[in-house]
């Protein structure tokens, strides 16, 4: 005769499955009546070897040019959304390149708005 490990009540058998009626009833009577909140979206894990960027979780590399690498990423704040992140290569980050990058950065939101 099979007993429940927890309360030693004789287990009930239904087909191939067994269960403890006492524990089931106790759980049913004490369950939280309200629906649990939808669980937060769990982002995919940070891929190994990708750079760490504050407020962004880099997911995968999309492409690479002479001055920078573009990644698919998850922005965490101020809103959660999927974005593309362009990361300059350290070895080419001269003043000239940084200025060009800044100009490009200023231009991108306008592109998004137009799109």
């Amino acid at each position: 005769m099979l007993e429940c490990d927890i309360c030693h009540t004789t287990l009930e058998r239904r087909g191939t499955r067994t269960f403890c009626p006492a524990c089931l009833l106790r759980d049913l009577m004490t369950d939280e009546p309200d629906e649990p909140l939808e669980p937060p979206v769990i982002p995919p894990p940070q891929a190994v070897g990708l750079p760490q960027v504050p407020r962004f979780q880099l997911i995968e590399k999309l492409g690479e040019g002479g001055f920078a690498v573009v990644y698919r990423a998850l922005q965490r704040e101020p809103v959660r959304r999927e974005v593309a992140v362009k990361v300059l290569k350290a070895q080419v980050a001269t003043e000239h390149v940084l200025a060009r990058f800044e100009t490009e950065r200023q231009t991108w939101p306008a592109w998004s708005t137009r799109a």
Binding site: C7, R13, P21, A22, D31, P36
Partner: protein
């Protein structure tokens, strides 16, 4: 009726209150009684078995008892009873067994009897075990609790089948019966191809509906809303909770 709990605005009419009001005389009450008998057939049979009746004899007694209830209008005696069908039927069966003469009643087998589908081998396997130390009354009540759970589970299965979700129910029902709130949602999620969070929500909804079905079955056998909660507490107390 003594308490008038079926009046508008109060506890809704249930199969048991229908039976009590009509005394088993009208067709609707008769059908209600048959439905209630399906819930109680196995518990009463189990009582008869634990009362030291052999399997065939216990089956005869149970069938004859329901025939007696359905055709001899003895349910009218229930008018004198307050509250639960569970206690009424057990008392009536004890009285019936004490006056039962097999030779007189077995001839009725095969006639117009209430036929209840159940897994004889499964019920017998439970009835044959005596090491639980339960008295016939206690055994009856444990089987009644198990029958309630079975019926509630069956309701859920039918609801899901009608909604085209039989496959989903087949997976989730495994986790419905798992003790504890840390059921293996990841496993359910993998089987259903959904996220673990979605599986957790699905199991929670299933448990909630299961609880409602259980409550509906209990409500069908009592006379007032307050008695539903009493019966549910009684269910828990059966296991020493």
């Amino acid at each position: 009726m003594d308490q008038g709990y079926t009046q508008a605005g109060q506890f809704p009419e249930t199969p048991w209150t229908q039976v009590r009001q009509a005394g088993g005389a009208d067709t609707r009450a008769h059908h209600s009684l048959e439905a209630l008998c399906r819930l109680y057939w196995v518990p009463l049979y189990a009582f008869a078995r634990r009362h030291n009746l052999a399997a065939a004899e216990a089956e005869d007694v149970t069938q004859s008892f329901f025939l007696h209830l359905l055709e001899d209008a003895s349910i009218q005696k229930a008018d004198q009873e307050k509250g639960r069908l569970r206690s009424f039927l057990l008392g009536a069966l004890k009285h019936f067994i004490s006056n039962w003469h097999r030779a007189e009643t077995t001839v009725k087998r095969g006639g117009r009897l209430l036929r209840v589908e159940f897994d004889t081998a499964e019920v017998e396997a439970v009835c044959a075990k005596r090491e639980d130390g339960l008295s016939p009354d206690e055994f009856y009540e444990r089987r009644w609790a198990a029958a309630l759970l079975d019926h509630a589970l069956k309701d859920l299965e039918i609801e899901h089948a009608r909604a085209g979700k039989a496959a989903q129910f087949a997976v989730l029902s495994e986790y419905l019966l798992v003790h504890g709130k840390d059921a293996q949602h990841a496993e359910a999620a993998a089987k259903l191809g959904i996220t673990e969070g979605a599986a957790r929500v699905a199991v929670h909804r299933l448990r909630k509906r299961f609880r409602e079905c259980l409550r509906e079955h209990v409500a069908a056998t009592v006379g007032s809303a307050a008695e539903v909660d009493d019966e549910l507490r009684h269910l828990l107390n059966l296991y020493g909770n």
